[in-house]
């Protein structure tokens, strides 16, 4: 016979908040440690606890990470990697979205023969580990004279981004009333006209979701950038690993952490600003057709 009032302070309620608070601490711990470590001097790190706030906060590690650390060949910081990542991410977002939208549109409304089977194989392909396809793609790109260049990595991201992008748009268009498409056809619209004038304007929400997912996925990619981008276009994630795991001599943990934050910055910022859209993407990506 518990009344509502008692429920507010009941042991169950306290237990819930206790669990959630501890979980929150666990999840926030690495972010906190990353931040404070990146603001400390090496002496402080050696002598102090990783959990302590910086006694004398300094942005020096950040400066070093951005423009001085050695990322393999050059010692110009992760700055180069940042711009490489930008150069890779922009086309690798725009192109897959465009193709995904057209694919999804064709699959949802026109359904030409054999398309559903192709789509099915594409979806299976999304689950297959990239190692199965990596070497043949290397050979193919080498034959085309593209291997180790910016077009190569963009093409690869297009190939591996296609399943999710197509699925997102196809599911989205499947929820658009079919009558809208039929009315547009009756009005005389052909394939591209209906797409550009009717469906695309409706697609802004899903384009936002797709953009967020693709930017995050491409920016955070390591393996494809490592293999296909070529030494001049290595994305930030690859350079980060070079900085931290292949340095000889003393390890500058504060610089390492600053570099890590810089690398994680773009998707994290995107996440914190886009909130609900990010979650929608996650949920949409999890719903398989």
């Amino acid at each position: 016979m518990k009344s509502r009032l008692k429920l507010l302070a009941s042991p169950a309620r306290i237990g819930i908040y206790a669990f959630l608070a501890s979980a929150a601490l666990f999840f926030l711990l690495p972010l906190y440690v990353m931040l404070v470590t990146s603001l400390k001097s090496m002496d402080e790190i050696r002598s102090g606890s990783v959990l302590a706030l910086p006694l004398a906060a300094t942005l020096e590690p950040w400066r070093q990470a951005w423009s001085e650390v050695c990322t393999g060949a050059a010692c110009e910081g992760v700055r180069a990697g940042f711009w490489n990542s930008v150069a890779i991410t922009v086309p690798s977002t725009i192109l897959p979205i465009m193709l995904g939208a057209v694919n999804g549109y064709a699959l949802a409304f026109w359904r030409p023969r054999g398309a559903t089977l192709l789509f099915g194989i594409l979806m299976v392909g999304a689950f297959v580990p990239v190692q199965v396809m990596i070497y043949p793609l290397v050979r193919l790109l080498a034959t085309m004279g593209l291997f180790g260049s910016l077009p190569a990595i963009v093409l690869v991201h297009l190939i591996f981004g296609m399943p999710v992008m197509t699925m997102l748009f196809r599911n989205y268009y499947a929820s658009v009333p079919h009558e809208l498409y039929q009315a547009a056809r009756i009005d005389g619209g052909g394939f591209f006209r209906v797409f550009l004038q009717v469906m695309l304007p409706l697609s802004l929400p899903i384009i936002a979701v797709a953009a967020i997912m693709q930017v995050t996925g491409v920016w955070n990619d390591y393996i494809l950038g490592l293999v296909f981008a070529g030494r001049d276009n290595l994305p930030m994630t690859v350079q980060l690993n070079n900085v931290i795991n292949t340095t000889t001599g003393s390890r500058l943990y504060n610089v390492n952490m600053a570099a890590t934050i810089l690398t994680a910055l773009v998707p994290l910022a995107l996440y914190f600003f886009s909130g609900r859209w990010f979650v929608r993407g996650v949920a949409a990506g999890a719903v398989k057709g």
Binding site: L31, V33, T37, V50, A115, L118, P129, T237
Partner: protein
């Protein structure tokens, strides 16, 4: 009449033409590449693909390879722990957040932000946290726990568990987000009916909600299982497969043999073997989907 026919044909060709890139991608980049890898796995290719067919020799060598067997063992241990921990933690987080807690938005943001970080960044931060002599070990010792030792990451038997911790930290939020969406999709009147029936909350979750979430739970399981098979970045970041080869995983084994050790025959065989669990996981889904389509 004849003037109309070519226009009709043109209209019906455009969708095919528009889907050409997708068709090319599927046929060349996915199916073609997979078949090529399969073919190479039957040859004695080392640095370059050769046409010297050796049947199943590469597979035999593969399963006699200690490092490969260890990577499979690691993957199995890792996979079990990772999937269990993620699903349990994700489920609990989702259920607890669904209890009308204040600050829900903030909590959700906190639990999901790790997913926005790359595996590389996650691995590096956790590597730092779990480095003996520094990181958490030092912090705890300074807090008074003098005897604490957190040297898993350099311990051959324990290294794989550090990777579990880091990746569970990253992925639980995703599980939470998906399950929370599922929970929210449950008709609120079911909750009311259960209250009227006098059913305690935990029992509602156990007997009504979880069965209702069956499809969502299996989707989550599939996503996690596939992520297990693809495990690569985090290992490179945290332990580089070490100490020694103690935390080797199949994906890394393949990459190493493709690019560093120049043995693409062996690597291709390994890639094909890695494909088997993925297809095994997908088979029930594909079967269920085609049955549903048949009925509909």
């Amino acid at each position: 009449m004849t003037a109309m026919r070519p226009r009709y044909r043109l209209r019906s060709v455009t969708p095919f033409a528009a889907l050409l890139p997708m068709a090319l991608t599927v046929i060349v980049a996915y199916v073609g590449a997979a078949l090529w890898t399969l073919k190479v796995s039957f040859t004695s290719s080392r640095t370059f693909a050769s046409d010297n067919f050796v049947g199943l020799a590469q597979y035999e060598r593969l399963f006699a390879n200690e490092r490969w067997m260890l990577s499979l063992h690691n993957l199995a241990v890792y996979g079990l722990l990772f999937v269990l921990a993620c699903m349990l933690i994700g489920f609990l987080l989702a259920v607890f957040i669904d209890q009308n807690v204040t600050g829900e938005g903030v909590l959700r943001t906190i639990f999901l932000y790790p997913y926005a970080m790359s595996f590389m960044a996650t691995g590096l931060v956790w590597q730092w946290l779990l480095t003996p002599g520094n990181g958490l070990e030092q912090a705890l010792q300074q807090l008074g726990f003098r005897d604490v030792q957190l040297d898993w990451i350099i311990d051959q038997n324990m290294a794989i568990y550090t990777i579990v911790i880091a990746t569970v930290w990253q992925a639980s939020g995703l599980v939470m987000a998906i399950l929370l969406a599922g929970l929210r999709g449950i008709d609120p009147e079911i909750w009311k009916a259960a209250r009227l029936d006098g059913i305690p909350k935990w029992r509602v979750y156990l007997s009504i909600v979880v069965p209702m979430l069956g499809a969502t739970l299996s989707t989550v399981f599939l996503l996690l299982a596939v992520a297990v098979v693809k495990l690569f970045d985090a290992v490179v970041a945290m332990t580089q497969g070490g100490p020694g080869t103690a935390s080797e995983v199949p994906a890394k084994f393949i990459m190493d043999h493709l690019f560093l050790r120049s043995n693409i025959g062996l690597a291709s065989a390994a890639a094909v073997v890695l494909l088997v669990p993925v297809l095994a996981l997908l088979a029930p889904y594909i079967y269920a989907r085609s049955r549903a389509k048949g009925r509909a």
